[in-house]
């Protein structure tokens, strides 16, 4: 079997030679990595942290602060945890690819050159 990889969404990006230089890509995507399991509720609750955007229900779980001068990052998770991390340049850029099961098509939607990485033990919030 074989399937073409569409790069339609990437075209303008590739032609202008723009690529990610900070926390999010020019197309608005971000890659966040935590050394651990991030537990987040999967069910709707009547709580201000739960919102709907278009057809998607979501829960607000954290706050991210980037110190662009030093590439440091701070992540507040829930109400009780604080993680220290950094903006890391990827050794090999990562293509974001969607495999559409319904119509059997494949699309490369973006390229990540950086990720925000948290590998230290979470600190309590004082």
């Amino acid at each position: 079997p074989s399937v073409n990889v569409s790069k339609r969404q990437l075209q303008t990006l590739l032609q202008s030679d723009q690529h990610q230089t900070s926390v999010s890509t020019p197309l608005g995507n971000m890659m966040l990595e935590i050394q651990g399991d991030l537990e987040v509720p999967r069910q709707w609750h009547e709580d201000q942290r739960f919102t709907t955007d278009g057809e998607h229900q979501m829960v607000r779980w954290g706050l991210l602060h980037i110190d662009t001068a030093r590439n440091n990052a701070t992540l507040f998770v829930g109400r009780k945890q604080r993680l220290l991390g950094s903006l890391v340049k990827l050794d090999t850029p990562l293509g974001l690819i969607k495999f559409n099961q319904q119509d059997g098509t494949v699309e490369m939607q973006d390229v990540f050159h950086y990720k925000v990485l948290f590998k230290s033990r979470p600190l309590p919030i004082m």
């Binding site: 079997p1 074989s2 030679d17 966040l32 990595e33 935590i34 709707w44 850029p93 390229v111």
Partner: protein, 373 residues
């Protein structure tokens, strides 16, 4: 600072793929295409590769134990109210996690291999292919390319080397015998029409072969002539459908067949073999021949006599192969034995270094003699 959300139900159809500098170049080229492929049909589950027009990368899944969240910036419908900002400036953007991944696909450049399962061998018989084509699962070159874990360029290059052909659109491999006949007929016809071996055009060559041929019983179709030219020639640059005959390759082909015919059951003195070899060519064929051209196809059981030996009959285990080779011939010239063991040098060592791992090398005069340890 940024508000981070996650969708309550995330999308499992996203993957992360390592983009090497070469792959990034392919992406940037607007004329290029990339395809995910696997050998066989959908149910077979062969290994997935990624192909550009001329290169193949094997996908290797690397699992990990971290949480990786893929997020997209969005503008919330309502302003998010926060109970606390932890002393940071008010958040100015919102990101929503839409997928999580627990692995990445690494990409390793490999040599693509054409998939010849279900491609039949055609020996020139006039009732090929069968009328309904039902027994032929590979019905076109497009089918063949789609079912090979291989880029188009690598596929076609291997196809040409193997004597691949199409008969009424159905891919097939021409048998060794049929290909030899096609080559012989092509050479004779080309010489009869005084065609230039360095510029053999398909149309002229086909016309030359088909001159005075009864079309109903003629297996030398245009595709068969093309296959013959692809296998024994090199395409002339910037000239479609024109080939320069590879005279050395043609001479070797005849030589291997001559070894099979005259030196299989018993060995033959080299001088006598050269005469026999020459006699197999079409009359007046201008090919130079030397025994050394056939290294990898003969051994010398006694003294200088030659006897046919095919790699296909040798053990695939390297130690056993050397054992067999020394049983057939106790001492070898380095240059004579190397072609018989090269294919097992999978780590790409220098050939003499490789041979020395399994055999003894002695200098005798100007030559190196290889014998068993």
């Amino acid at each position: 600072s940024l508000n981070l959300h996650e969708r309550l139900s995330t999308d499992g159809s996203f993957r992360l793929l390592h983009l090497t500098p070469e792959l990034l170049e392919v992406l940037k080229d607007s004329n290029s295409k990339l395809q995910f492929k696997a050998a066989g049909n959908d149910e077979d589950d062969g290994d997935v590769v990624l192909c550009s027009r001329d290169k193949t990368w094997l996908l290797r899944q690397k699992n990990h134990s971290n949480t990786v969240m893929l997020m997209h910036e969005f503008t919330p419908e309502q302003e998010t109210s926060l109970e606390t900002t932890f002393g940071l400036p008010n958040p100015t953007s919102d990101f929503a996690g839409f997928a999580r991944t627990t692995f990445e696909y690494e990409t390793k450049k490999v040599s693509g291999i054409i998939n010849l399962d279900s491609v039949p061998v055609h020996n020139g018989s006039l009732d090929f292919p069968p009328a309904d084509g039902q027994d032929l699962p590979v019905k076109s070159m497009d089918d063949l390319l789609a079912s090979s874990a291989c880029s188009e360029k690598e596929c076609l290059s291997q196809w040409n080397q193997l004597g691949g052909c199409t008969v009424k659109g159905y891919p097939c491999i021409l048998s060794s015998d049929f290909l030899s006949k096609a080559l012989h007929v092509t050479l004779m016809s080309a010489m009869a029409e005084s065609l230039d071996f360095s510029r053999l055009k398909l149309d002229e060559t086909f016309d030359a072969v088909n001159k005075d041929m009864d079309q109903d019983s003629n297996p030398y179709t245009r595709e068969v002539i093309k296959t013959t030219l692809e296998k024994y020639g090199k395409r002339v640059k910037d000239d479609d459908d024109c080939w320069q005959l590879d005279q050395k390759k043609v001479a070797e082909w005849y030589g291997i067949r001559a070894l099979r015919k005259y030196a299989s059951q018993s060995s033959i003195p080299p001088a006598e073999f050269l005469i026999k070899w020459k006699s197999t060519f079409p009359p007046y064929a201008p090919f130079d021949i030397e025994i050394e051209m056939l290294r990898g196809w003969f051994f010398r059981p006694t003294g200088s006599n030659l006897q046919y030996l095919s790699k296909n009959t040798l053990p695939s285990d390297i130690k056993e192969r050397f054992k067999m080779l020394f049983k057939l011939q106790s001492q070898w010239d380095m240059d004579d034995i190397a072609p018989f063991v090269e294919e097992l040098n999978t780590k790409g060592l220098k050939i003499d270094v490789f041979i020395m791992k399994y055999a003894r090398k002695r200098r005798v005069g100007k030559k190196f003699i290889i014998s068993s340890r």
